[in-house]
């Protein structure tokens, strides 16, 4: 195991009195994939959102290259490298192209570079045919791919996927699997929550189960 990209320590979060996460630690390694399982409502999504910077934990620390900072101070810089994907991603009401290009405007690419990047990304996921179509009108599986492309184009270091294969037919699952493999190869650190461990065979490096507010290591490859 090489150096971790990021380590989250002592994450604590409670909702209306009940403690969902009590001191969770998680290390993210480049090119490695973590699977998170656990009962519905146990807090998997909350954990992912905290890592993505979309939810505020009661307490947490982030370790970058050995230096530990409290979550509040470090989250701003860390957030930029992490993207969270919803279980049912929401499409902006515009074309597939627009959706994919959304995040690019906050990068330093110029207009020409952005267009090229979008074209390349659409090809990568096989969405060139539907580029000009209104994203909300497309099927769930295609929307999923649009969401992936939207995230991939920004080359994040960490990708968090919430139940990525739920409600997918066999073909879509195959395509998604291939995308995940390529993302791993590209060096992204993946964290996937799912009930269906069998779908991710071959890509998962670590499997944790979230139970009673803590992570239990289930297996390690």
């Amino acid at each position: 195991m090489n150096e971790p990209l990021l380590v989250f320590r002592e994450i604590e979060k409670s909702f209306s009195g009940s403690q969902i996460l009590c001191g969770v630690d998680l290390s993210l390694y480049p090119g490695k994939c973590i699977l998170l399982s656990g009962k519905n409502g146990v807090g998997k999504t909350t954990l992912l959102k905290i890592i993505a910077g979309l939810e505020i934990p009661d307490l947490a620390k982030i370790e970058i290259s050995g230096k530990t900072n409290c979550w509040k101070k470090a989250v701003r810089s860390v957030r930029k490298e992490i993207i969270y994907l919803h279980q049912h991603p929401i499409m902006f009401s515009s074309t597939v192209e627009s959706n994919v290009a959304y995040g690019l405007r906050f990068t330093s690419l110029n207009r020409k570079q952005r267009r090229e990047s979008v074209e390349e990304a659409l090809e990568w996921t096989g969405l060139t045919d539907v580029a000009k179509k209104q994203a909300e009108t497309l099927s769930g599986g295609v929307q999923q791919r649009v969401a992936f492309t939207r995230a991939w184009i920004l080359k994040p270091k960490v990708l968090l996927l919430d139940e990525p294969m739920a409600n997918m037919d066999h073909e879509s699952r195959e395509q998604t699997y291939q995308l995940l493999v390529r993302m791993k190869l590209a060096g992204m650190s993946l964290v996937i929550t799912s009930h269906f461990m069998q779908y991710f065979e071959g890509i998962v490096d670590q499997h944790f189960q979230l139970k009673n507010g803590a992570l239990e290591l289930k297996s390690k490859s």
Binding site: K49, L54, I90, F92, S93, Y102
Partner: protein
């Protein structure tokens, strides 16, 4: 009955022959109300957004206050402003009484609660995932907010139309702090009040028809928007 028909005929004549005094009154109504709504909307929606996404104490109370302000009688606002703007009042030095600026300010105060309350409802109805997706893809908070606004744009537009309908048909404020000055602060509603107090019903009816037509258009537009897919989330 004869008198009523004759008056309506005269009214329509005034409208269609482009009676300049009449149309200058109509123009003034629109000018004042459009400015008021355009100036209030951005800030009001910012407040709506803060109330929707904020985590500070007292949000519920603030919302309750705005909801209760939705149907304040316009004369009350007019009177309140008059006291503030009169020469002896705290803001008398600004010499704003009996100006269009004062009318605009008054109407801004009038439509603000409506815009905030309806804007809040629109934003609340927005899918939380829009905000989260925007943020996680790197959009700064202000741009993510605009993205959310875009996704609920029809509901927001309906809020603006509702607010506009309220202010273009108000009289309490225009009369009190506008003063109904010919060519300067005389708008549709103050003109109607004045003409009828003079017994000149033809002018009053003509202006009333314009206002009625406008309110039909606004209602039709609102129904169209309510039927639109984006509105029903």
């Amino acid at each position: 009955m004869n008198g009523l028909l004759l008056t309506t005929q005269q009214a329509l004549q005034l409208l269609f022959t482009g009676d300049s005094e009449l149309w200058s009154i109509v123009l003034l109504s629109f000018s004042v109300s459009l400015k008021a709504i355009l100036l209030t909307t951005p800030f009001a929606f910012l407040v709506s957004f803060a109330l929707s996404h904020g985590k500070f104490p007292g949000i519920r109370i603030i919302l309750a206050i705005f909801n209760s302000l939705l149907s304040v009688p316009t004369v009350v606002i007019g009177l309140f402003l008059y006291v503030l703007l009169t020469r002896q009042g705290p803001f008398g030095d600004l010499r704003l009484l009996f100006t269009q600026t004062a009318m605009i300010i008054g109407q801004m105060i009038l439509c603000f609660p409506t815009l905030v309350a309806l804007g809040y409802a629109a934003i609340q109805a927005a899918d939380r995932r829009v905000w989260e997706t925007a943020r996680t893809l790197g959009a700064p908070p202000w741009f993510s907010m605009l993205t959310v606004f875009f996704e609920v744009r029809f509901a927001l537009l309906a809020a603006v139309l509702t607010g506009f309908g309220r202010i273009i048909s108000e009289i309490g404020i225009s009369m009190m702090i506008g003063g109904n000055i010919l060519g300067y602060t005389r708008n549709i509603t103050t003109a109607i009040a004045m003409e009828t107090s003079k017994g000149e019903f033809a002018q009053g009816i003509a202006l009333g028809l314009v206002l009625l037509l406008l309110s039909f258009l606004l209602t039709a537009l609102l129904s169209y928007l309510q039927g639109h897919k984006e509105f029903t989330t």
